[in-house]
């Protein structure tokens, strides 16, 4: 938008300038034409005067010649003939002048020709009458007719010259009128043109001042932006640079120098100077990436290390994109940021994670070793008890027998605990193999594990068709076994256990339980029984290790089984929830992510 505005402004100013130039040229042209007109008018006036003067001259010469001739007739003194003799010569030269003056006017030329004929006939008349004067025959009829004719010719000459004179005056008047109107119109024209020009210039000035104001505002914004960029570069620990590819010129922002541990603009921004800072081990990779920058329009993010002059190593990250100037020059604009803090944090986090992982491994190894190694002595104790009972059983007193039974049941319980604990620690072991498995088979296997107790309790188990899921097979089978075992163990006395396993594929956002879900689709498997159930307030406690809701005399259990279930489901990035109602039953819901 702004760019467009500026563009419009420029073209507007350009057209104003062109218009002004045109107006000035116009004024110049008009002025020249007016001055030329003026000169022409003056010349015409002068010419008219000259014509009039020459005509006057001719008339006066002829008048002199006539009056001298009359005196010569009277006196016969030839002295009076001198004006007559001169007149012919002078009249001729005047005719020549006149001919030059009126050559552009055909009417006057015609008039002049008539005048010329008249004068010629006058002079021939003089010549003829002069013969009569010389012979003293002035009283003859012929002389008188000649004399009379002479008078008529002179009158005609006077009339003819008057006609010419009038015509010339008339022309002069027309010229003068033209001239007058011209000189009247010219200042008005000049004035109005000047006025228009002035208006244009005022508009242009106005426009320029508005533009200047705009530019000033923009300049101000640019300054603010520049300062903000500077600040953000300092705070965000990044700097930018421009590489003019054609001229191979670089420009670094102030903060880029700071990232390198140098004063802003303290050395020439060149590629080689920058390369001096790059960690020797990263130089090759960095150069390769930069080469790629020239060929590829967009540089992928490149990570490398630099060594500052004080020896500290920083991790930098650079991203660049090519950018063409208005005149098509390729430039690469890049942004380089100091990611040392992040990388150090990541390294620290990795270290912590490793430590945690080690601790976890140690813990589970300990757990495994403890439960595993405890099995052996316990088994021996139990075997020795059985041997003792078998071989020496009848030698014990009543209380001795009782003590032996107590030892036996304590050992049995310990075995149960250790077995479960071992199972629990096994589900903790990493590097398990995930394979795509048919859950129906795994469930069938689990059912087979429980076959005896199912038969014994005549339990009814109904199950939907389960899907194929990528799982750790042993663990899922264990999960199914534990849930079945749980339902069978906590069944109500004298009631046939009914266990229903339902399956559906669900969307995470449609299940209120799945607020912590990371995937969108889940396999939902529910185990519903009609057992003794539990109080809903223990729903979370139920999955805790060694937590038991029932007296161990009533129901044998270690409180590990459901913890194992939870662990297994966790291992599969799934969720397990328990819902219970006392004497109605329990429902365990498992969600496994759809792979």
């Amino acid at each position: 938008m702004k760019k467009k505005y500026l563009f419009e402004s420029t073209s507007f100013l350009r057209s104003i300038l062109l218009l002004s130039l045109f107006v000035i040229l116009l004024i110049g042209g008009f002025t020249y034409k007016h001055i030329a007109n003026l000169k022409d008018s003056t010349e015409v006036v002068v010419k008219t005067y000259k014509v009039n003067v020459e005509l006057e001259h001719i008339i006066s010469y002829l008048r002199d010649a006539e009056s001298g001739y009359r005196n010569y007739i009277a006196t016969k003194d030839t002295l009076y003939l001198r004006p007559y003799l001169n007149a012919s010569e002078k009249v001729n030269s005047s005719f020549l002048k006149l001919k030059g003056l009126v050559k552009e006017n055909s009417e006057q030329l015609e008039n002049l020709k008539v005048l010329n004929i008249l004068t010629d006939s006058l002079f021939s008349n003089f010549y003829k009458s002069n013969v009569f004067v010389k012979n003293d025959e002035t009283n003859t009829e012929a002389f008188r007719s000649l004399y009379f004719k002479e008078k008529i010719i002179i009158d005609s000459i006077r009339r003819q010259s008057k006609t010419m004179f009038d015509l010339e005056n008339k022309l002069l008047n027309v010229r003068q009128e033209d001239y007058q109107s011209d000189s009247q119109f010219t200042p008005l024209f000049f004035y109005s043109v000047l006025l228009v020009t002035l208006i244009f210039i005022i508009i242009a000035y106005n426009k320029i001042s508005i533009d200047l104001k705009h530019i000033k505002v923009k300049n101000d914004q640019l300054l603010i932006f520049k300062e903000a960029t500077n600040q953000s570069e300092i705070i965000g620990k990044h700097g930018n640079w421009i590489w003019h590819i054609e001229s191979n010129m670089f420009a670094y922002s102030d903060n880029l120098y700071r990232l390198l541990g140098e004063e802003p603009q303290s050395f020439e921004a060149t590629f080689d100077n920058f390369l001096k800072f790059v960690h020797p081990e990263d130089v090759e990779k960095f150069s390769k990436d930069l080469d790629k920058m020239i060929t590829v329009e967009e540089l992928p993010i490149t990570n490398y290390r630099i060594i500052q002059r004080n020896g500290s190593i920083k991790y930098l990250k650079t991203y660049a994109k090519s950018f063409y100037s208005d005149n098509g020059q390729k430039r690469l604009i890049g942004n380089t940021s100091d990611v040392s803090y992040e990388i150090e944090n990541i390294l620290k986090l990795e270290e912590h994670n490793l430590k945690l992982e080690r601790n976890n491994k140690e813990l589970s190894a300990f757990n495994y070793a403890a439960s595993h190694d405890l099995q052996e002595p316990l088994r021996k104790i139990q075997t020795f008890i059985s041997r003792l009972e078998e071989k020496e059983g009848n030698k014990f007193s009543d209380s001795g027998r009782q003590y032996l039974d107590r030892i036996k049941s304590a050992a049995t319980r310990m075995r149960l605990l250790i077995d479960d604990l071992l199972q629990f620690s096994r589900t903790n072991k990493p590097d398990k193999e995930f394979i795509s498995s048919d859950l129906n088979t795994l469930f069938e296997n689990a059912k087979q594990d429980m076959a005896e107790i199912i038969l014994e309790k005549k339990a009814q188990i109904t199950i939907d068709t389960l899907p194929k899921v990528t799982v750790i097979e042993f663990q899922i089978q264990q999960l199914f076994s534990n849930l079945l075992s749980n339902s069978l163990k906590y069944s109500q006395e004298e009631t046939v256990p009914i266990i229903k396993i339902n399956y559906s594929k669900v969307k995470a956002d449609e299940e209120p339980d799945l607020i912590k879900a990371t995937k969108s689709l889940y396999h939902k498997i529910t185990f519903t029984d009609n057992g003794i159930g539990f109080d809903q307030k223990y729903t979370d406690q139920i999955f805790q290790l060694f937590s038991r809701l029932h007296n161990k005399k009533e129901y044998s259990g270690t409180g590990v089984g459901l913890s194992i279930c939870k662990k297994i489901v966790d291992n599969h990035q799934g969720f397990i929830f328990a819902k219970g109602e006392i004497n109605i039953g329990a429902t365990f819901t498992i969600y496994l992510p759809v792979s």
Binding site: E444, N445, K447, A451
Partner: protein, 147 residues
Amino acid sequence: MTPEESIALNDSLNDYGIEIVESQKGILVQKIKDVIIDMVFNEETNVNVKSSVYLSEKLGHSYGYLSNLFSEITYSSIENFIIIQKIEYSKQLLLNTDLNLTEIAFRLNYSSVAHLSTQFKNTTGITPSAFQRIIFKRRKIAQQKTN
């Protein structure tokens, strides 16, 4: 039974410390075994007759007599022997055919697939699917070794 097998049997039974006399008893026990094996592995004879009836008809002795004799000589029951043979046959079918467990249960006259898999588990300690998986893995390893 080929003579070689008979000798091998003799040797092995001797190894187990059992006095083998080529007596009527021994021969009869062997006959019982043969009939059972034939009954299990040759499905055509596997008609809807109880195995006890089938055995006494086939061998011309009462089932009680055969059963006692069998236990006396082999230290295990005829029923147990039949089960072992059936499980062995189901193993063969599992490994060498495309039949699934349900089809195998049907062919071996089990009332249900659950019955077969329970018996399989009780006899071998492992489930049919685990058995199949283990043997297939073994074969795969053997194949890799020969390659």
